[in-house]
Amino acid sequence: MIIPINNNSTKINIKKLAVDTNILLWTFYENTTYVQSYQKNIYPTFLSNIIEKNKCKVYTTVYNICELFNVIEKNEYELYIRNNCLTLESFNKKQYRAIKEERDRLQRTFDLLYNQISNCMEIIEFQINQSIIEEYIQTYKEHRYDIFDFVLLKFCKECNIKNILTDDVDFGSYQEYIKDLKIITANRNLV
């Protein structure tokens, strides 16, 4: 079931919530300050309300943290390219990773993000096993989940978490996997 939210969605009463990577980015990543979008207002406000008012337990997984770091590194690499008049062809990500100042800066960013997120929610060490990988391969054509989406869904089923907060339109792509879940989103393409 898809549950739409907006800036005034304060009445949703849930006790356990899983948070997708894009929500972590919209809430904690510093560069969202310079983006014009609905996401950077609605999701952090929703998250703070359910933590403070509903005393809801909020979870994410170690895989979402991995994906978060990966997206941020890609973003910082592309910003470096733009700010230094380079091109993706002339300066690849391996070369970017060799720049000490950038490495130091990103390490500080990751360290801070990890502490901020740990302070707000529990980061679960959910185990991916061969059976999950095989199921992902077998069902791949039925949906549009990437492996991180798929693992978050499996984590929710295993831990009996019925609510997922996401802005990812792909979450609506396969009813079989979300029929017992509430997908909470401000993304109107998902609604």
Partner: protein, 119 residues
């Protein structure tokens, strides 16, 4: 004269940009009324949730508009947790870098939006 803002009297957390904008508005009122040697102390007692966009919208805005030197003369933080202090420091350093390098924040916004929406 020292003017003090008790953050918890304005907002519940330092997690959201919208709360940062509420603090910014309060600071702007103080700045309009201030004499040259006055200072503003931000008291973070009882604030436990922190994210960098909150500080970017409040403190970072004044670093970019006043410049880092003038900002440092006016603002002081107190009763802030270790995580809050690290988050503030991170936002401060980013704003100083943007100020010194005159970074085009429109490009930052455009690239960042695309990468998050495609994640």
């Amino acid at each position: 004269m020292e003017r003090k803002i008790i953050i918890s009297e304005l907002i519940n957390n330092a997690l959201t940009e919208s709360n940062g904008l509420i603090l910014r508005e309060k600071i702007e009122i103080f700045l309009k009324e201030m004499s040259e040697d006055d200072t503003i102390t931000l008291d973070f007692k009882n604030i436990t949730l922190f994210a960098t966009p909150f500080f970017n919208a409040s403190i970072g805005y004044f670093i970019l508009n006043l410049g880092p030197e003038k900002f440092a003369k006016i603002f002081k933080l107190e009763q802030i947790s270790e995580l809050g202090q690290s988050t503030y420091q991170h936002s401060y350093e980013n704003a100083v870098e943007i100020y010194n390098r005159n970074t085009n924040t429109d490009i930052v916004g455009e690239v960042t939006k695309t990468n998050i929406e495609n994640s």
